[in-house]
């Protein structure tokens, strides 16, 4: 008995150890983005004559070197303050300010010189518009496909499902020509319209709407509610968990979408974040601190969304795949 319990304890330790190692591997790249984005890049070391960069250093620095440097000078400044040496203190305070501005210099450069604020807003605007549009349009379609009998219903549903099998690259060239003919090349409409046509949400919504009891809908009808009112007041509130999942996935896929935007966007003022990041990389191959600062800015919103809505992420994934 004693023996088997200690085996179990050992097993548990091994499991945690393995998972710990795996999750370090999993999270290391993200950590590296943030660490490099805040690495000191032109630090004026006291002993060295010239400024040093900890970004391009071998061996690589595992954390932002500004942190220990900052506290070192903070300690020295306090000591100088205690000794009443105001000149010495002012010097260390200045170094501390320099460390802070150097640490965040990637971000300030991006906002001042590279328009990243604009890209951020473009991404946010497109993602929000598409998400709201998809939620409305797909829930309407999913509702009637799940709950109404009408001629053509099955044909429409299967046509939509069948195109889910077709890889998006097939429509790249025709879409490009179409967007050109419509005169919406190099506008945000060229991104929004094809995104609104995505069909995954119809499928998800239809699955979800099935579970809404018919009695509720019939009761609304008997009370004289119009079709729109039934949908708006009864169906939508009941479908909220499904809508949350669909909303998050739509937002994520639009926020991260890349291939189509790099084809249709040319004007740097219209770039979304991923396109902007690519242009940044093309222009600043060597400045990894700058690139990682841009990457950090693009990554943070999705990380926040994920942490806030983790439950809905999981719900959406399992709705799409586990059933049957």
């Amino acid at each position: 008995m004693q023996n088997s319990r200690s085996i179990q304890k050992l097993n548990k330790t091994i499991i945690y150890l393995l998972l710990g190692v795996f999750s370090i591997v999993s999270l290391l790249p993200l950590y590296w983005v943030f660490s490099t984005s805040m690495q000191l890049s032109k630090y004026q070391d006291e002993e060295l004559e010239r400024p040093v960069s900890y970004v391009d250093s071998n061996p690589p620095k595992m954390y932002p070197m500004g942190i220990p440097e900052y506290f070192e000078h903070w300690g020295k400044a306090r000591e100088a303050d205690k000794n009443g040496d105001t000149k010495e203190e002012a010097y260390h305070r200045e170094v501390m300010d320099n460390i802070v501005s150097d640490t965040f210099s990637g971000f300030t450069t991006l906002f001042q010189k590279n328009n990243i604020g604009r890209w951020f807003l473009n991404s946010a605007y497109i993602a929000v518009v598409v998400t709201i549009g998809i939620l409305l349009i797909d829930s309407m379609a999913g509702y009637v496909l799940a709950k109404k009998q009408f001629p053509g219903r099955n044909i429409i549903f299967w046509a939509i499902i069948a195109t889910m099998m077709i890889p998006g690259q097939v429509t790249l060239v025709p879409l490009f020509m179409m967007v050109k003919n419509l005169g919406i090349m190099d506008t945000h409409w060229a991104l929004i319209f094809p995104d609104l046509a995505m069909v995954f949400g119809v499928f998800l919504m239809r699955q979800f709407m099935y579970s809404i009891p018919d009695e509720l809908l019939d009761a609304a009808k008997i009370d004289g509610a119009s079709e729109w009112k039934t949908y708006w007041k009864i169906v939508l509130p009941l479908a909220r968990p499904g809508l949350a999942a669909l909303g998050i996935f739509t937002f994520m896929s639009v926020w991260n979408s890349f291939l189509w935007p790099i084809i249709v966007l040319n004007d740097a003022n219209l770039y979304t974040l991923p396109v902007g990041l690519k242009s940044l990389q093309d222009a600043n191959l060597a400045s990894f601190k700058l690139l990682m600062s841009g990457a950090a800015i693009a990554a943070v919103p999705m990380i926040i969304v994920f942490i806030m809505f983790q439950r809905h992420f999981i719900k959406g994934l399992t709705l799409g795949g586990v059933k049957e």
């Binding site: 061996p59 109404k148 690259q169 291939l259 990554a299 992420f313």
Partner: protein, 306 residues
């Protein structure tokens, strides 16, 4: 208003109603469907049909010409296509099994843990999936850097010389494959966890009574019951892997030479750098059939091979 009569519509109907009256009767339903239908037809259905038509045309700015199978012949005669196919295939064959199996292992390790550790590890493994591949590719390029990259630094601990990971054709594709293997398959882990949760506890209890140990239970109960999830995940990741693009354009641009050229990158280059629309359309139709073929094969193998 007589709502009661409206609801019982199946009582009187005997003769087949005309199409017009059918549409009229179901007008609300059609109106609800209309926005999606218009968008679907305009931006998916027509482009799909158009792609097939384009693939049989030679594109010219003023009116395209019918070209029969010329584009397809060109596709299959070009060396670039076979290189891209081979690279994409190698990428898929290595990464898909690796990712699915590692997702299964990680999920199996997470599942018996307490609620708090479960959700911690779930988040740790899913977080890289929500960040854009553009970002992931940028940082991996940095980690693969010959002089300052973290990988060469780690290899240095073991006395291995620095490798120019992405800069030489012998290692570039493998660098991308290793990267894909080390990015956790977050969707897979979460799906497996959900499926494990739906397996009835009584099965395990019965096996315990029969004297089965943990590993035996895993092999004889968990694994077979996860088969539908496995099928879904293999399909999902195969389709995704055949479309690999972002890493390529962000990290190697298909090079050096054509060492990391993949199908979608080739389509992108053909269509939007060389503006050979007909040829690009034909390549994308071929890609579609390759993916379809693989999906059918996998479906058969995994579903009926009991």
């Amino acid at each position: 208003m007589k709502p009661v009569q409206q609801t019982s519509n199946s009582v009187v109907i005997e003769r087949k109603p005309s199409i017009l009256s059918q549409i009229k009767k179901n007008l609300p339903a059609y109106l609800f469907l209309l926005p999606k239908l218009i968008l679907f037809i305009a931006f998916i259905a027509i482009p799909v049909v158009w792609a097939f038509i384009l693939s049989f045309q030679e594109y010219k700015i003023f009116g395209s010409e019918w070209a029969g199978f010329d584009n397809y012949i060109k596709v299959f005669q070009s060396e670039a296509f076979y290189i891209a196919l081979k690279n994409t295939f190698l990428f898929t064959v290595v990464t898909v099994p690796f990712n699915v199996v590692s997702a299964l292992i990680i999920a199996s390790l997470i599942y018996p843990l307490g609620k708090l550790s479960q959700s911690f590890f779930r988040a740790a493994f899913y977080l890289p999936t929500v960040t854009s591949m553009v970002i992931v590719a940028m940082v991996w390029r940095w980690m693969y850097n010959t002089d300052f990259g973290i990988f060469n630094y780690i290899l240095g601990w073991f006395g291995v010389d620095s490798i120019n990971w992405l800069g030489q054709s012998s290692s570039a594709l493998w660098a991308l494959i290793i990267m894909q293997c080390l990015i956790p398959f977050g969707v897979g882990i979460i799906l497996y966890l959900a499926s494990m949760g739906s397996i009835s506890e009584s099965l395990y209890e019965a096996a315990t009574i029969d004297g089965a140990n943990g590993i035996q239970k895993w092999i004889h109960i968990t694994l077979p019951l996860l088969k539908p999830s496995t099928l879904y995940l293999v399909l999902l990741s195969t389709i995704g892997s055949f479309q690999v693009f972002t890493q390529i354009i962000m990290m190697t641009g298909g090079g050096p030479g054509s060492a990391t050229e993949t199908l979608v990158h080739l389509i992108y280059k053909t269509g939007f750098r060389d503006f050979e629309f007909g040829l690009a359309a034909a390549q994308s139709v071929v890609l579609f059939f390759i993916i379809l073929l693989f999906s059918v094969i996998q479906f058969r193998v995994l579903k009926y091979d009991e």
